[in-house]
């Protein structure tokens, strides 16, 4: 009897030892969907490459908890209707340990109730106010948007300092642009500015000269544009053709697309004078520990992978997502979702895009969005955007690298 117990014990110990060794060798799986096709693919690919660079770095350092890190990535075709099935597969079939959200706002929207129900931590990827209604307390957005109105207020604040009193709003009829326009209206009222022109246009619009003539007739001091890549280009071309009027002091604000290498190269000198939001720029104060090394690796791999060769907008934030989860797992010492969320909520995280602290809603406590003015851009040259001074940072004060040139017509030259 005794011998049998001893034998059983030995076998149990051996089996236990083996399984725990097997677990130790199993990689930590991070699951996500990412737009590889469809309208968001350009950004999705750059973002994913940023995350992949982190994965390779962390594995080179020996992984996390002694285990390698592995990414499980599926294409969501830029659509909200694909993500629930994909994330169900990630959770129930692939049994991933950590979830990253898909890029942009629409694809992750259906996931919020799902992750809340399952009690899973979700690292957001450039979504805008996607958690505001669901209120999941384990959501952490990597994007520097900060409080919902900080975006509009930084731009309008610049305009007011330049002597602007009236504002024109031009926004695409799509979720992100409409959210921006809404906060801009609120901020304008708060600052005592008068909205003299407020127009939404269908997302498929290609010809803007009619709209811009009407806008010009309203004689605004500030023009706040919330647009998507194809319309951003269309609007700038129309501005170039018919002008915008001498009283406009500030033009831009929320134009998506002017952050992507291909679009910037294409527009070239038409960009001059535009003041637009951005997330990272090659200005001296934007470099943190590891930023330079990251871009060296990224640039090399982006050329091979044929994604945005600059990658300023999304890629470093993808890397930062990884850094945050890396720090959390190291500090907590396990993959317990609640403990990781608690750590992420209560601490400041050191990343290549600067220190990140979260507010209760999982957005950055303080906005990290910069407003920068394009200066001295020449046509058909993507390499020029790598040097500093091409996009001069006007806001926030701590990152400022120059002063605003007004009026807009003067800055365009």
């Amino acid at each position: 009897m005794k011998r049998r117990t001893l034998l059983g014990g030995t076998i149990a110990a051996a089996v236990f030892g083996l399984t725990s060794a097997a677990i130790a060798q199993q990689p930590i799986k991070i699951g996500m969907s990412m737009a590889q096709t469809g309208g968001l693919a350009g950004g999705g690919k750059a973002s994913l490459l940023g995350i992949e660079v982190w994965r390779d770095d962390v594995n080179a350092r020996g992984g996390l908890l002694g285990r390698k890190v592995e990414l499980v990535v599926y294409d969501d075709k830029s659509s909200a209707s694909e993500t629930p099935a994909i994330y169900s597969k990630l959770l129930d079939v692939d049994k991933v340990d950590i979830l990253f959200a898909p890029y942009a706002t629409v694809p992750p929207a259906p996931l919020m109730p799902l992750v809340k129900q399952r009690g899973m931590l979700l690292i957001g990827n450039f979504s805008f106010q996607v958690n505001s209604k669901v209120g999941h307390d384990m959501w952490f957005n990597n994007a520097p948007w900060g409080p919902a109105d900080s975006w509009a207020s930084s731009f309008l604040d610049l305009g007011q300092k330049a002597g602007g009193k009236t504002i024109a709003l031009l926004a695409a009829d799509q979720e992100f642009a409409q959210n921006l326009a809404k906060t801009a209206r609120e901020v304008a009222t708060k600052l005592g500015m008068q909205v003299v022109f407020d127009q939404a246009y269908p997302p498929s619009t290609v010809e803007f000269s009619g709209i811009l003539r009407a806008l010009k007739a309203a004689k605004p001091d500030i023009v706040y544009v919330a647009s998507y890549p194809p319309d951003s280009a269309g609007i700038l071309r129309a501005v170039n053709e018919i002008g915008i009027g001498d009283n406009v002091k500030l033009f831009g604000g929320g134009m998506v697309g002017l952050q992507f290498g291909a679009v910037m190269e294409n527009l070239g000198s038409l960009l001059n004078g535009v003041v637009n939001y951005n997330t990272w720029l090659p200005e001296e104060k934007m470099y943190n520990e590891g930023t330079k090394a990251f871009f060296e690796t990224y640039t090399k791999r982006a050329v091979e992978a044929k994604v945005d060769p600059l990658g300023y907008y999304l890629a470093p934030y993808g890397y930062a997502s990884g850094q945050m989860i890396e720090q959390a797992i190291k500090a907590v010492g396990s993959l317990d979702q609640k403990a990781l969320a608690k750590y992420l909520r209560e601490n400041t995280h050191k990343t290549i895009v600067g220190p990140i602290t979260f507010a209760a809603d999982g957005e950055w406590k303080e906005s990290g969005v910069v407003q920068a003015q394009f200066r001295g851009i020449k046509d058909k040259n993507i390499e020029q955007f790598r040097s500093s001074g091409k996009q001069v940072i006007l806001f926030p004060a701590k990152l400022k690298s120059g002063d605003l040139i007004t009026p807009f017509e003067a800055a365009r030259k």
């Binding site: 909200a80 209707s81 994909i86 259906p110 919020m112 009829d173 799509q174």
Partner: protein, 319 residues
């Protein structure tokens, strides 16, 4: 014919029993998410085929009907919080009305002009919803699912079963139409509308019937999608993908028989789901495109046509 009918209903009952059993036995959620999408496409393809296959009116507006179904459910849920069954029934009613309007359109437009008009209708409806703030407008709307009803212990499992019931309903209706005077009348007007009218086929009444039934089914298929995604935005709800997929599935399966769109939808739907979680890159778009081209070239009558050809050849060989 009668024996066929018995077999069909036995098959349908077995299918539903199997679906029910799946919800009770399988703990893993993923099959339900994936199968729900496939079932949804079966309903859409079958519904498309009633007008596009039997009557030959190519409708590019599947996404309009689907989207209206989604938003009918969203509106009702937000305004009154009615249960899923009511949402679906209401969507079917709205779809029937829309189908009626579309049917009247066929009075003036045929062929390619009708098809273009259906695309225009999609864009008009999408723009209207985009500007309707109550249902979220352009920014979309997030929905919180209500508690699930017994015997299901999970909302997605329930949606899966509901969609399975709709598949049976859609296929039964399509099969009935095909085998009844309606189907024969539609076939006649597909070949030559003028000749059919002259020989006494009530073409307008038939077209209206087909449009109403097809529209009601498409809208009904869209209604549960609101609760499936727990989110609705115009760009996703009115995605052209639904129109293209419904059409491609029907054509690949074959439009001459009710089973055609079912086979096509299963084949394409399963392929799409598999590709999403395997290749998962630009290549999956390519694979679907190549499949479509291959079928158009090699089997213009679809899989059903291919089977018939093989059968008749074999019969010839025997004779």
């Amino acid at each position: 014919m009668k024996r066929n009918g018995i077999y069909f209903w036995i098959g349908a009952a077995l299918f539903l029993a199997g679906a029910m059993l799946m919800t009770q036995v399988i703990g893993n959620q993923y099959p339900f998410f994936a199968c729900y999408v496939i079932l949804q496409f079966i309903v859409l393809a079958v519904a498309w085929s009633i007008l596009g296959g039997y009557a030959g009116y190519v409708n590019f507006g599947t996404s309009a009907f689907f989207g209206v179904g989604v938003y009918t459910a969203v509106f009702l849920f937000k305004a009154t919080g009615v249960p899923l069954a009511v949402q679906i029934a209401a969507a079917a009613a709205v779809g029937a009305l829309m189908g009626f309007a579309l049917g009247l359109l066929t009075l003036r437009m045929q062929g390619i002009f009708f098809s273009i008009a259906t695309i225009a209708a999609t864009i008009i409806i999408e723009t209207a919803i985009t500007n309707w703030r109550y249902v979220g407008g352009a920014s979309g709307i997030q929905l919180q699912r209500p508690a699930v009803m017994a015997p299901f212990d999970n909302y997605v499992e329930m949606l899966f079963f509901v969609q399975a019931v709709m598949v049976v309903l859609a296929v039964a209706i399509s099969r009935y139409i095909q085998n009844s005077w309606i189907g024969r009348g539609l076939q006649a007007l597909k070949d030559d509308e003028l000749a059919a009218e002259c020989t006494g086929v009530p073409t307008l009444r038939l077209k209206l019937t087909a449009c109403v039934i097809s529209g009601a089914l498409m809208c009904a298929a869209g209604a549960p999608a609101a609760m499936y995604l727990q989110y609705a935005d115009p760009a996703s709800a009115f995605n052209l993908n639904y129109s293209v997929s419904a059409l491609a599935m029907s054509l690949i399966g074959g439009t001459a028989h009710w089973a055609g769109p079912v086979i096509g939808a299963i084949l394409l739907g399963v392929t799409q789901q598999l590709l999403t979680v395997t290749i998962s890159s630009e290549v999956n778009v390519l694979v679907l495109g190549v499949m479509l081209v291959l079928f158009v070239v090699a089997a213009p009558e679809g899989i059903i046509g291919l089977i018939r050809k093989v059968r008749s050849k074999r019969n010839e060989g025997e004779g």
